[in-house]
């Protein structure tokens, strides 16, 4: 049995072994992502969101359940994945260009050296870092470093991009800038994206599908399809429809945190297009 989806998690259950006994983090978590779609995962702190990224990238294997990527069971890391974290983890002894090209030293892409440089320079230009190729990471601001980190995660043309709160440590304006950059990047070269975030506005602005994870051990408590058509701008976050979506997500987070019951409707009487996710 295979999976028709780009990414599929099927009843994934996982526990960490600690000194105080096993700590269950995921309980029959199921998520499906279409090719070139964008899924944002939100949830209370410590609900296993980062565990999810490690499972999809193959850095870890689940205790139970299956993780599928491009129709194959994930059992180990694979070069068709790109990752970026909250900490940009640039290598201080390399220039920005050398940092961006790091994955090309590991993954064989069949590109010649000059094609590799062109590829990296093209990405840097796209995110607005033209002219900073020869700088060291320490000479760049936090937002610029995160941009470079994004370039590095995309330089080897991955099918899947996994982002673990990459914008979490940035100031609000820089963050919104980078949201726009994400849209620009996807427009030019499509990829499937899994984003972990704490920011509900970010999830609605960027994603086609928002998954709310329950408290630990987590399952997919709620799934919302974000159908804002056309090119998104920040103004789209202030339409009544977006505000309603944000209210629903906020309510779902409160449910996940155990602070609200699932029967309380977020906005009285408003039926939503959102569907309850699998396993809820």
């Amino acid at each position: 049995m295979t999976s028709p989806f780009q990414i599929e998690l099927r009843d994934v259950t996982h526990a960490y072994r600690t000194d105080a006994g096993p700590l269950p983090v995921l309980d029959k978590l199921s998520i499906r992502m279409e090719k070139n779609s964008f899924t944002a995962v939100v949830g209370p702190s410590g609900c296993g969101k980062s565990t999810l990224t490690r499972l999809v990238s193959g850095l870890m294997r689940p205790d139970e359940g299956e993780v599928w990527l491009s129709g194959q069971r994930v059992t180990s890391p694979r070069p068709t994945v790109g990752m970026a974290f909250q900490n940009p983890v640039l290598l201080e002894w390399r220039t920005i260009l050398q940092n961006v090209m790091l994955p090309l030293e590991i993954v064989s892409t069949g590109m010649s050296k000059s094609e590799q440089v062109d590829r990296a320079m093209g990405l840097l230009k796209l995110v607005g870092l033209e002219g900073f190729e020869e700088k060291r990471p320490s000479e760049l601001s936090g937002g610029m470093r995160q941009r470079a980190s994004l370039c590095r995660s995309l330089v080897h043309n991955p099918e899947v991009l996994i982002l673990d709160e990459p914008f979490g440590a940035l100031d609000a304006f820089t963050r919104e800038d980078l949201w726009q950059t994400m849209h620009d990047l996807r427009e030019i070269e499509p990829f499937t994206c899994l984003l972990i975030t704490h920011d509900l506005r970010e999830s609605v602005f960027l994603a086609d599908q928002v998954v709310v994870m329950s408290g630990r051990p987590a399952h997919a408590q709620y799934t919302m399809d974000v159908d804002i058509s056309g090119k998104r701008t920040l103004d789209d976050l202030y339409t009544p429809k977006a505000v309603e979506m944000l209210a629903i997500l906020r309510h779902q987070i409160q449910v996940a945190q155990g602070r609200a019951s699932s029967v309380d409707a977020p906005l009285d009487g408003h039926p939503t297009k959102a569907e309850i996710g699998a396993g809820a």
Binding site: M83, N87, E92, P103
Partner: protein, 256 residues
């Protein structure tokens, strides 16, 4: 020559000259005989008289120190890698290492001298090595064990091998700590060499020259040896600084 370079050279030279002048003045002011305190001007005749001996003995001290330090670098780095990557090794080895490091090496000298009777060069190198590998091992192990997991993950998620991760990330990231430790180790290795030369005299190195100064009550010679040791120490230290600039210069922030 621009003003920055001039400052870099002039500042230490002026400081050294000033210290020597104060020293000279104090010895003159208190009218100290040279067996209590030799003055810098007493040392010049000593250097002039024994310059050939100074060259030979300095070389003997220098090469044995460098070989001992070289061994310490190789062994310390390997040990640091083992302790940095394996928690069991770290927990198991730490008390042993700390205990070994706490033993004053002056007490080890006679033991080593008895164990390998007559192997003077080997013994000297051994002591220089034993006294200087500890800081290297500790700093390399700390550098490796504190590597943030994300650094590992960016390469591991692409399917990179452990060796690639070590070579491309862990090793270069540890270099600043390594050079910090090497600066400590280089002076320690010197102390080790001289311990052997002085505590177990065998006619080699600056320690031997010091000893002959002591035996023949040539106090200015003893002081002159201390100067030569200091000069060699400065020389080796700045070689390490030079290497650090080349290999870990990125860790130095540009002055604002």
């Amino acid at each position: 020559m621009n003003s920055a370079t001039l400052r870099k050279i002039a500042a230490p030279v002026i400081t050294i000259v000033a210290v020597l002048a104060i020293w000279e003045f104090l010895v003159w002011f208190y009218q100290l005989p040279n067996f209590r305190m030799a003055s810098p001007s007493d040392l010049i005749p000593a250097f002039v008289r024994y310059w050939d001996l100074f060259l030979i003995k300095s070389w003997e001290t220098l090469w044995r120190t460098v070989v001992g330090l070289g061994l310490a670098v190789v062994f310390g780095t390997l040990l640091g890698m083992v302790m940095g990557f394996s928690r069991i090794a770290r927990e198991g080895l730490y008390p042993l290492l700390v205990g070994f490091n706490a033993i004053p090496k002056a007490t080890v000298v006679p033991i080593v001298a008895l164990m390998f009777v007559g192997q003077h060069d080997f013994n000297t190198i051994l002591i220089a090595f034993m006294i200087s590998f500890f800081p290297i091992a500790v700093s390399v192990s700390i550098g490796l064990s504190t590597l943030e997991p994300e650094y590992r993950d960016i390469l591991r998620s692409l399917g990179a091998s452990n060796f690639t991760i070590f070579w491309k990330i862990a090793l270069p990231k540890t270099l600043p700590e390594f050079f910090g430790a090497l600066k400590v180790a280089v002076t320690l290795a010197f102390i080790g060499t001289n311990l052997m030369e002085i505590v177990s005299p065998h006619g080699r190195g600056l320690g031997d020259l010091f000893d002959s100064g002591r035996i023949s009550a040539d106090y200015p010679l003893m002081f002159a040896v201390l100067f030569a040791l200091a000069a060699l120490g400065i020389f080796l230290f700045y070689i390490v600084v030079f290497l650090e600039r080349i290999f870990a210069g990125w860790a130095e922030r540009a002055p604002n």
